[in-house]
Symmetry: C2
Subunit: 503 residues, 2 copies
Amino acid sequence: MQPSGEQRNRPARPAPERAALARELARRVGEDSILWTDDTLLPYDVDGFTLAKFPPDLVVLPTTTAQVTDVLVFARAHGLPVTARGAGTGLAGGALAEEGGILLVTARMDRVLEVDVSNRFAVVQPGVVNAHLSERVAPHGLHYAPDPSSQMASTLGGNAATNAGGPHCLKYGQTHQHMRALTLVLADGSVVEAGSRALDPPGLNLVGVTVGSEGTFGVVTELVVGLVPRPEAVRTFLAVFDDVTSAGAAVTAIVGRGIVPAALEMLDHLTIVAVEPYVHLGLPLDAGAVLLVELDGPAAGMDRRAGEVHALCREAGARSIREAKDEAERLLLWKARKGAFGAMGRLASGFYVMDGVVPRTRLPEVLARIEQISAEQDLRIANVFHAGDGNLHPNVLYDVDDPDSVARAWRASERILEACVELGGSLSGEHGIGNEKRDLMGLAFAEDDLAAMAALRRAFDPEGRLNPRKMLPLRPGCGEGLPRPGLAAVAAGLSPDGEGPWI
Amino acid sequence: MQPSGEQRNRPARPAPERAALARELARRVGEDSILWTDDTLLPYDVDGFTLAKFPPDLVVLPTTTAQVTDVLVFARAHGLPVTARGAGTGLAGGALAEEGGILLVTARMDRVLEVDVSNRFAVVQPGVVNAHLSERVAPHGLHYAPDPSSQMASTLGGNAATNAGGPHCLKYGQTHQHMRALTLVLADGSVVEAGSRALDPPGLNLVGVTVGSEGTFGVVTELVVGLVPRPEAVRTFLAVFDDVTSAGAAVTAIVGRGIVPAALEMLDHLTIVAVEPYVHLGLPLDAGAVLLVELDGPAAGMDRRAGEVHALCREAGARSIREAKDEAERLLLWKARKGAFGAMGRLASGFYVMDGVVPRTRLPEVLARIEQISAEQDLRIANVFHAGDGNLHPNVLYDVDDPDSVARAWRASERILEACVELGGSLSGEHGIGNEKRDLMGLAFAEDDLAAMAALRRAFDPEGRLNPRKMLPLRPGCGEGLPRPGLAAVAAGLSPDGEGPWI
């Protein structure tokens, strides 16, 4: 999982070289848009995946599509890689400038350009913060549905890059289901308008394949995102169980009844121990699991559906069920979930937030495996789940000052992802692949599958200069070759020396 | 790629040549799987887009992924194009063997391989008929949600190729939202497994971009499709209005109230005149529009939601509202909608089912434009809508024996699609591009957008041998922009000589 040795922590180009590049680029985009000195670059060598650091040579903060084109044309002329970055909250290292070059930060592209209330979409720049869009359209009774836990900081451009999920994606779908159109600047500076403001556009699904491509296809400079009416009624419950098995039984019962909750989240014992001192909800510290269930929809019939959820939780063995009386209490219950990752800091000096998926019915099995891995590696692992769709977030707790503990955390993470794949699941539900899981892609995909992805990527970025070394595993060494001549040749054309990344 | 002119409506290869190819291919896939004589090829030179005919040289009916690989390797060795075909119900000519070669028919790949009730998916071969899958899983309380009007005949492979829609896609989403994984055989015979049985797989979204690619990326030989619980309660209403404006107002009111109906379909006056003698519902023949509204979901609260829909239709001016008392009556009400296209045969010897999209709020404008076009071209046009998502199906009625009437039908169709694009919409909601709209793509997409699609397609099929001449416009000649010869020219085989297709 660790990136190959020689490229890790490579220093940036010498300052005079960076200064010269900055001067030249300043003529196109203005001096105020460029950072190049050591001190100003410092915050940009790391993102939410804190285990790897790569300094960029230049940081550019454009404000318009035309400026992004300028930056890409400049980068091409100088053979510089370009990595786009939103808020830098990504947990998979997708915004690391692994080969240096230009880090294109979208923070200043933060304008909501248009809101069409009747047709329920907004046109935004990529640097708009997820939660800000929902705040902006709230007076119209609308909101933007995907709600990653990072939503107070993460941007819509970054959300699109990773196809971000969130608790409410169980009912409303992930980011790709809410993206209608994208403006994409390719590596050669050309501008592609993908999709349409109307629903169901024809032609190849450029939007669907660009969402989740982690900045390897182009730089998204404008997004048309769908907006969803705020539900008439919302009911939120927190049910406490003795163990995850009985909480899991409640999940199965709720889903089996044909109820589609707005969210269905689970925290395990260790997570409860972490969050209770932070939220003061009075959660019993000996509880084995907590289930957060939210129902939304028309007010009509809500009482009956809420009663059903209550009954199903009781039947599954819930110790107690607390329902939010008002919006303030609802936000408090949610704080237990959305603040869970932050609260891990109370338990250990380092925690590694993982992201795996299994078919929903195999959650108990994967939990048993995680318990076993926890014992083997002698590390505590706290689990948070989007239980409704089988997406789990194990938090591997380790000691940042103990290299052996760090190494065991890596091993634990790898074992957990292997278990997910073995149980019919996959490597990532919503955080992306980035740097973190690039070399694990072979666990989930065969060579032909990866070759198809590489060919797709090359279709957009033939020189492989956009966010290099992300998503796809490093190319096999010389002589190993690739099994299939067609796509293999395509992929090989990108890294003729056999030492570069797959693409 | 061959130049176009001489190949259009060209006859199949001479029989002895076909016989020789058939003999050789028979050694790989068996004699019983191959058709090559004139009489047996006859049914395969046309699909649901009856305005164009192209005979294949061979028809092959494989039963396994391995046989599909055999066919593609054979085709590659002989430089033959390959076009995949499901049931041949497509309305855009996507299954026409435009350059002859092999028509790969999936009709015998009709097995449901696995049904996972707990995790709600089925693994099927591409030749499984849409409705058959829902019948098969009905005992488990599940169904496959996308329901094109062709669902009694059309196959899941064809549905995936066109990203098929259907009335219930308003609530449940189009085909691409229900495809979890695909097995795709590429032009070189290699096999790509895209997606995962678990939700939200990582990596580039190969499934999302393959769905809707109309067989230009590869041949899908296995699909993992999501299944949806059958709703606890269903209520179906047919409301009669004096005109489409008031029916449209009801649509706006229902959607504006935050109600998400399972379906929201509209028929205009001329459609009512066509369907009433067929369904005997007692629809008043002077009615201006009929709205079919279906609600589904939990039984709790359904009465109140049904009451709201009633009241909103009344407020918008409904003359009468009929609610289905039981499943038999519900199916009868649906017959008015799903049988609408077939009923057009009562009004004219020829009818051209079109497919356009506009933002929902612009339906009244596009209807006014269609009325104007109808007058200009002196042709009756009957309209059926998925009103909830702005997808319209104008049926242009013409006289098949009058060449002038046929030409006016072409012109009308082109004007209608231009109007859709002008109003912020697009060329197709759910039928695909195929042969029919290939040369209109320039209306909706700029050159850079089309170039991105072409690059994507080349990534999968570098030689352009899979379903050639589909979806993307013909390549511009030297010094010209994107030519748009118009539908009439396309149908008449008038593409400029010497110009190959875009890819």
